[in-house]
Subunit: 187 residues, 2 copies
């Protein structure tokens, strides 16, 4: 383990490009305005399929290298067919993957070599909220817990700091911990 | 199109079972305490893989019919490999699929036959937030817009009411529009 500034790591994150993008976008902030998209189509019951393919950023429409498709459904204990992950589980996947990407990026920037990163994420929910069984119960999660197990060329304190900095810069952590305006319309 | 109370529909949602569950759980509220889970493992760079398989509910551990796996990554414009949807796109998928499941369930309960339901969802983000380029810019979405196109055996007003009721009961709509506590720890 090295603790000097000269330590180097290869976690597969191109931090030079990200730091260059930060400088370039600070000078041309219109390029930093992104719009992320998904299209969702009902299949039957509570089963739907979502497609993620295009987004807007750097001033123009962008296309992912592949088209990503996701089936969502309610589970059998909700008298449904369980043909996909539950919508709230997609939110957990989004949060865990956002924090893990951040851990890798921050580690790269700090010259910390990662060997393995595993996050277990849990969200507690009283389903009397969504069932309309108790107006005092919220529909969403009461609490979310994320636990990391990280094997890296770093001290415990440095690993804790990686995870803390990842939270500070995480889009999904912000989306979940702070209110976001959602407008729903019908054509 | 029928507008009487006797109208019937088959959208594939078992509302009788859901209403029975609501009554049963109101009398035994400990069964309504669910915990949803995902496990996320770093692959390389900003690429990670999440697994959704088990959850807790009705007083015991439950297992999905299948194991759901999701690759997440950052896109090429972030100097990444684009080996999966972006974490924030998973959040959009969660919200759209939650609202669509709700539309189907509410329609079933109201005897409205759905023919097709399509949601287009967009989230605006100034990426200077996540890049750390401007401390005044939030990391998450500034706004989310969901637009529904619904073909159903119902009036425009009834369709608007379906979508409104779905928002009111949606877990993910609540998670995104209201703050949720997230605790991150390192083992």
């Amino acid at each position: 383990m090295t603790t000097t500034q000269e330590r180097s790591a290869n976690n597969g994150v191109n931090t030079e490009a990200l730091l260059a993008a930060r400088s370039a976008l600070a000078d041309a902030p219109e390029g930093a305005q992104f719009t992320w998209r998904a299209v969702n189509e009902w299949v039957v019951g509570t089963h739907s399929e979502s497609t993620v393919e295009e987004y807007f950023g750097l001033g123009e429409n962008q296309t992912h290298k592949s088209t990503f498709k996701f089936s969502a459904d309610h589970p059998e204990v909700f008298a449904a067919e369980d043909n996909g992950a539950t919508p709230v589980e997609f939110v957990l996947v989004g949060l865990a993957s956002c924090l893990t990407a951040g851990v890798a990026a921050v580690a790269q920037n700090r010259g910390i070599q990662l060997r393995s990163v595993k996050a277990t994420i849990e969200g507690d929910m009283d389903i009397l909220g969504i069932l309309g069984g108790d107006p005092e119960v919220r529909n969403g999660f009461n609490n979310i817990r994320v636990n990391y197990e990280i094997d890296a060329d770093a001290t415990e304190q440095e690993i804790d700091a990686l995870v803390a900095q990842s939270q500070k810069r995480s889009a999904v952590f912000d989306i979940i911990t702070n209110p976001t305006n959602v407008t729903v319309s019908v054509n």
